[in-house]
Structures are given as structure tokens and as C-alpha cells.
Symmetry: C2
């Protein structure tokens, strides 16, 4: 395969070429050395899209909700990018047949771009790669980008922090363990969705979430709790309205810049860590490193003193460049 020409691809992207977008996302996933060349060429053209993060445990109906929401937004004439960072998502290839069939109606539409991120084998952090994929769809000119994650690890929180609006989905009847796992996400949610709201216990879940915010002194945005039954498309239009309401709230209160700053700070910290990890990997191949390991084992030095020497090697490498 010929080396993809980043200059050509980014030019095509900025003209609205979806295939160029797909190729560039593959590059930012797999080729850390090329990422800077991609992003530095398109960064000026980002910042127009509305970014919505959607998270919730497996079985909460997350993918169906995104499917319905995307269809609804398309009916309103908006272009929609979907990025799935969930290995178990139907967008991510882990589909039930039923999900795939339901998705069919949106996959033939040119105003929708769907992409799953490779959660395994992605060179560099998945949060970093997802942030770059968002920038690519933003530069492509799409109006709204829906980012789906599952779980509540550090990477997922980082991904959600890159959004304008973060939606946490839950369903009645999940075990206490799973509920507790969402704790990290509770703090960053701008909107809650209780899906499968026809199930027993839905009102209790709504009440529990609302209670969490009842006594907070937080002025400003109080996360609303919406009920949906996404398979029947119940609650989707209200959800879309609330998403825009939150986005408008950010704009009216000059908070878009604050969110952008939060995202940028997180991004450069992640990028710097990634650069560091890659340099460490390079150093591990060197003779000097192998010698250092031997010296620790022979107790001529200790791991902490050795780490200092490795930091010196990292820095020496960089200065050579």
C-alpha cells in the first residue's frame, strides 16, 4: 500500500470528503508519528461542531438511543457524526443482528458518518485518538458529533470531558455493583437518561438521581433526568431539545471557552504522556537499558536511581532530534 498523502487527504477532508475522513481517522489511530501532521493541518477548521458524549453500561440501550437520536437529528436537517469507543457496541462490531437491522436505515444516509474506534491495538491512548477523530469530523463540517463510550475508566472520563454535553444513561434493575461503578460518571453528567422507563423501578431511579442534586448549592445548570423507551422512540425529541438547551446554556454563560480549555489541558497532558511512553519503549530496546536492568538485579543500583538515568536517556534522545 502506498504511503497515504496527508496533505492531499486533509485538503479533501476540508472540502467535505467522507472517505478522506475515514482514512485520516485510521491514520490517527495507528500512526502516532503522523498524527501531528494531520491535526496541525486541520486544527484551524475545528471548533464548529457540537460534541455530545453518551455513556452507560452494556444493556442500557445506549446504541439504540444513539441510533434514534441520529435519525431524529437528520430529520431536522443536521449532519451527524457517530464515534463509538465501546468494544461491545453494535457500531463497534459487537452487534446483535437485530441492532444491525435497525441501524440499516441510517447507514445509507450521506449525512451520517459512523465510526468505531479500535479499542485494542490502538497505538497511543484511546482518549487521545478519539479526541483526534472528533477533530477530523469537526473539520469535515458535520453539525453534531455523538461519542459513545461504556465503562467509567480514566479514558472514558477523558473522552466525556471532551464533550460539550455529557449524557449518562441508566436503566432500572441493574445491580448495586454496576450502579456504584458509574460514580465517576455521575460527577461529569450534564443530562441523565433513565431508559426502559416502562420497567418497574424507573421512577425510583429518577428519584435517586434527582436526590443527588437536590441539596447541591450549585447555581446554574442542574442536570435534568429524562425518561425514555428508546426502542419505541419515546423521549427522543425531548432528549434532542435538552441537548441543545444545555449547549445554549454553555454559550449564553460564556462556558464554551471553559469547556474547550478543560479539553485542551487534558489533551496535551495525554499527548505528552503518550510521547513519553513511546520514548520509553524505544529506550527499552537499547543496550544501555539492558545493562541497567542487569545492574539492578546484581544490586549495583536500585530501580529509582535507574529510573533517573532513564529519564536522562529520554532527554538526551530528544535533544539529538
Amino acid at each position: 500500500m502506498a504511503e497515504p498523502d496527508i496533505e492531499v487527504l486533509t485538503t479533501q477532508l476540508l472540502k467535505g470528503d467522507r472517505r478522506a475522513a475515514a482514512k485520516l481517522i485510521t491514520i490517527v489511530e495507528n500512526d502516532p508519528d503522523a498524527v501531528k501532521r494531520v491535526i496541525s493541518r486541520i486544527y484551524k477548521n475545528t471548533g464548529k461542531a457540537q460534541i455530545v458524549g453518551i455513556t452507560g453500561p452494556p444493556g442500557s440501550g445506549k446504541s439504540t438511543l444513539i441510533n434514534q437520536l441520529a435519525s431524529y437529528l437528520r430529520q431536522k436537517g443536521r449532519t451527524v457524526g457517530i464515534i463509538a469507543v465501546d468494544a461491545s457496541s453494535p457500531f463497534g462490531g459487537g452487534a446483535f443482528l437485530g441492532d444491525r437491522i435497525r441501524m440499516k436505515d441510517i447507514t445509507t444516509d450521506k449525512g451520517i458518518f459512523i465510526r468505531s474506534m479500535a479499542t485494542r491495538g490502538c497505538k497511543g491512548g484511546i482518549a487521545r485518538a478519539t479526541g483526534d477523530a472528533i477533530k477530523i469530523l469537526d473539520a469535515l463540517g458535520y453539525d453534531i458529533i455523538l461519542v459513545e463510550t461504556a465503562g467509567a475508566g480514566e479514558a472514558e472520563v477523558d473522552i466525556m470531558n471532551a464533550s460539550h454535553t455529557t449524557i449518562v444513561i441508566t436503566v432500572p434493575g441493574l445491580g448495586d455493583d454496576i450502579q456504584a461503578n458509574k460514580a465517576g460518571m455521575m460527577e461529569i453528567a450534564d443530562l441523565f437518561v433513565v431508559n426502559k422507563a416502562d420497567r418497574e423501578g424507573a421512577d425510583i431511579v429518577v428519584y435517586e438521581i434527582e436526590s443527588m442534586f437536590r441539596f447541591t448549592d450549585k447555581r446554574g445548570w442542574k442536570p435534568p433526568v429524562l425518561k425514555t423507551a428508546v426502542i419505541e422512540a419515546i423521549g427522543i425529541s425531548e432528549l434532542a431539545e435538552r441537548i441543545d438547551e444545555h449547549f445554549n446554556y454553555l454559550k449564553e454563560n460564556d462556558l464554551i471557552g471553559e469547556r474547550l480549555k478543560r479539553r485542551v489541558e487534558m489533551e496535551i497532558a495525554n499527548i505528552a504522556k503518550e510521547v513519553m511512553v513511546r520514548e520509553l519503549e524505544e529506550i527499552r530496546k537499547s543496550e544501555a537499558y539492558k545493562k541497567l536492568i542487569e545492574e539492578i538485579i546484581e544490586k549495583k543500583t536500585d530501580p529509582h536511581s535507574a529510573a533517573d538515568e532513564i529519564m536522562m536517556m529520554v532527554k538526551a534522545r530528544y535533544i539529538e532530534k
Copy 2:
């Protein structure tokens, strides 16, 4: 409080002073700048202890098993260090009253040293701090060190990889989700324990684990699956025997050095990452960093180009030192 004198404390430690050990562990948890001074002074005196990692989900009886195992080893005349890296562990302060009472008989014994690691607020990685705590108890002269973790995150896998023998505990009747979460641990287990073996389904769990290894072509050590009922102290003596059997297997096959190498490589990678993260934190306070963030927001530069500049700042800082 006066600055603790590391030279005095390490001298006392090497003479077998338990209080010095406790103080030094607090230092390696809380003061990253002092860690190197502590470890470089004692590293020559490490390498004698037998290190056993024990992991399993909450409710598997892990802490009771460790309690019983420690009592048994004491009866055999061996000194035992216990390090708990599990926030929900009774050793970690999250005890049920019953557990605390059961623990009483071992806490008055001077041949046992119990310590829980602060999983929150630990400055630097918990895996790094735990590795250093192990070295301190090793240098104190304890015969065997039991390290308890819960969960199967990256830190827990690193901690288990620092052991000579890794034990994974399970119980019949856990949900499929929880079983699946153990997947990462399955690969590193040297010994399996099916606790609460009087419960229905215990033999099925034993069979399932044994099946995983039935067709592996792996010559050498095949992880045995033991049944215990730790509240009644059933299976403890056999467990102790199997732990020593595995340790002897490592020694007879010249694998102790290999495990040490694995541990050392992981340690220096973690230390180097920690040093890097701390340097990033320092840089975040600088005016140059704030200016860079502004420039990204104004789209004069992009996050990837900025990260490069930050790497240069990290390196410049180091050279100044």
C-alpha cells in the same frame, strides 16, 4: 513535625525495627522526592523474602484467608508481612466488626506486620508505592510477604507481577460479569483457590478453571486449583504447602531471576512514568504553559505541536538540575 531522618530510619529498619518500617512506608507513599533516598539505602538488603500476591473479588473471603494463612505461617515459626492494597479490605480500614475481631489474635503478635496502602491520595502510582513497601518489609527481614489486592486494573496486575506466587481466589455463585472481569488475572495466576467450597457449584468452578489449562501445551507449572472454606480454616495447610511448592519450583528451575527481571522492568517503567507526570504537573504551573493553552484556544497552534513544546520544557528542566 520534624523532618524524618531517612538515614536514621533505614539504619533502624535494617536492625529489625518495625516502627521504622511503618514510618518509611508512610514516606514512600507520600513523599516522592524522598523515595529514592529510602530505597537506594536498603536495596542491597532486599531479595530474601518470599512474596505472595493474593487477589479476588470482594466477598470472596480474601482477607479471612490471609488472616488464617498468616496464623498458620506464624505457627510454623515464620515472620509474616501483610500489605493490603484493597480499599474494601478489613486491613484497609473498611472492616466489618466480625472481621476485626477475628483479626485480633494476629495483631498483637510481633512476628506479624500489617499495613494497608492508601489507595487514595497516594502521591505517585499505587503499584510503585506497594513495590517499595514490599522492599521495606523485605529489608526488615520478614520471611514471607502477603500482598492483597482486589479488582483487575493495570495497577493490580503490576502488583501481582511483583510476586513470586500469585493466588487468585474465587467463590461459587458470582455473576458472569464479575467472572469475566477476572480474565486479566487468570493469565497471571500460579495458584487458584475456590473458597466457600461447601457451597453449591464449587466443583463446577474447579472444573471450569481446570479446563482452561487442560489443553495448554505449557510445560512446567500447571496452576493447581485448591478448595478452601477459610472461615473453618479448611484447606489452609494445603494452601501453604502449595505456595512453598511453587516457590521451590521457581528456585529449582532458575526462574526466580526471571521473575525479578519482570518486576524490575515494570518498576522502572512505572517510576519513569511517575517522574514524567510530576514534571508535567510542575510545568502546568508555569506562565509558558498557560500561554501555550491560550495559543491553542486561539488556534495559533494545535495540541500536538504544543505537546512537543512541553516535552522540550520537561527536558530543559531536567538539564538545569
